[in-house]
């Protein structure tokens, strides 16, 4: 794939090697153009005006919802709630379904590989309600330990939250197996953090079987501050609103209010219509490539990078084999702190992430304070892998090899 020219930031910076797409992706001109076009031709407040420009804005917003829902295999378009991103979507479930349904003595299961966004809201809910948070541990290879999960889920379990793909290790979790296990052993709802799956391979919400699936547009070529929650209608309809205000109401009496239908009940205030239009353009772009090809491309680059990195003495790579991961390569080099590695790589024009990746519980279990993480996407190529390798070798030169 030779897609770099489609991305203005990359095209304008030939020496830049962007390997931090798990944090946020670059944006193709098609997305930027779609958003500009919305503001230049269709901008008005959706759902409000009786005039034709507002109708046009509303249509753009509705069309975007339907395009994104179709891309993620959700037949019930109105069960896709636009949010600021994965974090807000997960907080919506914890704050609305969780507050209404979790009680003292109940249990909530999360995993040791969850991002803080799918860990802290549940931890805080448990503290607030007097419920117990249980953590599903990992195998030595960085897979979810389903045996551990089987032992944790019981009739006391109200929520099982997990990620589809680990942002720190790249592990792809067996969602349908987890859902079956949870259904067999409990009446718990399943909440899947899809921030690292929606951008990287085909996802069909209706086939996954989870009750809620959250994702972020900015990690999949879309604009920042626009993501979504897809939920099962029967659950969403019973849930209280998450925020209140304009658009989400039906009638406001002096002493009480009633709520609008889905999806509006969960979308208080003026929606981010331009962002939704941008995300729709992003999924159209990804759809033209084909999500199977996206994954194959990332894996082929990652396989080369992993083979070459492993050949460097002192490099340690975390997580399961390449064939079981999406485009994330987490590693450390000797006693060189990942921050120092990232600074040296930055000097070579290579952008990687260094730190705990918002997964402190996972880092504790790996026994490291931080890792370096290179993540791959559609615009990366072998030049980026070459630059990564040169940078790591340079770091090794600067720090010198000290035999322990």
């Amino acid at each position: 794939m030779k897609l770099r020219p489609d991305f203005p930031l990359l095209a304008n910076n030939p020496g830049l090697h962007y390997l931090d797409s798990a944090a946020t992706s670059q944006k193709p001109a098609a997305v930027l153009d779609a958003m500009r076009d919305f503001y230049e031709t269709s901008n008005a407040n959706p759902h409000r005006g009786a005039y034709s420009l507002s109708v046009r804005a509303t249509e753009c917003y509705l069309q975007a919802r339907s395009d994104v829902a179709r891309f993620l295999g959700a037949a019930d378009t109105d069960a896709l709630i636009f949010t600021r991103g994965t974090t807000e979507a997960l907080n919506l479930v914890a704050g609305s379904w969780g507050r209404a349904n979790v009680r003292a003595g109940d249990e909530i299961v999360v995993t040791a590989m969850d991002h803080h966004a799918n860990f802290v809201p549940w931890q805080q809910l448990a503290l607030e309600k007097g419920a117990t948070l249980r953590i599903c541990e990992l195998t030595d290879e960085g897979r979810l330990d389903l045996g551990c999960m089987r032992g944790l889920v019981s009739s006391r379990t109200k929520v099982v939250a997990f990620n589809h793909v680990s942002n720190a290790l790249g592990t792809i979790n067996p969602v349908t197996d987890i859902v079956r296990l949870v259904r067999d052993q409990s009446d718990a709802i399943t909440v899947c953090d899809g921030a690292q799956s929606a951008p990287h391979f085909p996802v069909r919400f209706d086939e996954l079987g989870v009750d809620f699936y959250a994702f972020s547009g900015h990690k999949m070529l879309g604009p920042m501050a626009l993501g979504a929650l897809i939920g099962k209608r029967e659950l969403l309809e019973k849930m209280p609103p998450y925020q209140s205000g304009g658009d989400m109401i039906e009638f406001v009496h002096d002493d009480r209010s009633t709520w609008n239908v889905l999806p509006h009940k969960f979308e208080a205030g003026t929606p981010n219509a331009a962002g939704a239009v941008g995300l729709a353009a992003a999924v159209k772009y990804l759809g033209r490539i084909g999500m199977d090809r996206v994954l194959a491309h990332e894996r082929s680059l990652m396989a080369v990078a992993q083979a070459r990195l492993s050949a460097i003495e002192g490099v340690r790579i975390y997580g399961p084999p390449v064939g079981e991961r999406s485009g994330v390569l987490s590693f450390t080099l000797e006693d060189v702190h990942p921050h120092d590695l990232a600074t040296i790589l930055d000097g070579e024009g290579v952008c990687i992430r260094a730190g705990h990746h918002c997964t402190q519980p996972l880092m504790r279990r790996l026994g490291v304070a931080a890792t370096a993480r290179a993540s791959f996407y559609v615009y990366n190529d072998e030049d980026d892998v070459d630059a990564l390798l040169e940078g790591v070798l340079k770091a090794r030169d600067i720090f010198g090899y000290v035999p322990s």
Partner: protein, 150 residues
């Protein structure tokens, strides 16, 4: 897009002296009965420094630090303990302010002999994302001294 870091900047950042303090930190460990302690965390990267200090009169006596972090944060901690030992609170405060100026790009501070080995960290100012690493131990020291005054 500005990308100020060049190979020369990288070389200036990772001077031999910094790597030496990173690999062979001075005053690393714990005091038996410290007069004051402070823990500092950088939640963004997970770096942590635990600082322990004894006082002798108005002066800073023995110091020890422990923790984990990058070469910049640990070298800065190691050098700091050497430079401030035996100095009065007022002197330490002046050094701390001067070091901060150095980190914010005041290169006249790079010639200030009061900073001693810390001048080797002058390259950090070219890397805004790393200034916080260099200041972590100093924030711990500031907290120790503020606690003493308060």
């Amino acid at each position: 897009m500005s990308r100020p870091e060049t190979s020369a900047d990288i070389a200036a950042l990772y001077q031999e002296m910094i790597l030496d303090h990173y690999r062979r930190p001075r005053n690393k460990g714990k005091l038996e009965n410290p007069d004051a302690t402070a823990e500092m965390r950088n939640p963004l990267c997970g770096d942590e420094i635990d600082l322990q200090v004894n006082f002798s009169g108005d002066a800073v006596g023995e110091l020890r630090f422990s923790g984990k972090g990058c070469s910049i944060s640990l070298a800065s901690a190691s050098m700091m303990t050497q430079v401030v030992e035996g100095k009065t609170a007022a002197e330490v405060d002046a050094i701390r302010r001067r070091f901060r100026e150095l980190m914010l790009g005041d290169l006249t501070a790079a010639n200030d002999v009061r900073l001693g080995a810390l001048r080797a960290l002058s390259g950090v100012s070219r890397f805004p994302a790393r200034v916080k690493c260099a200041l972590l131990a100093w924030n711990a020291l500031e907290s120790v001294l503020a606690g003493r005054n308060g």
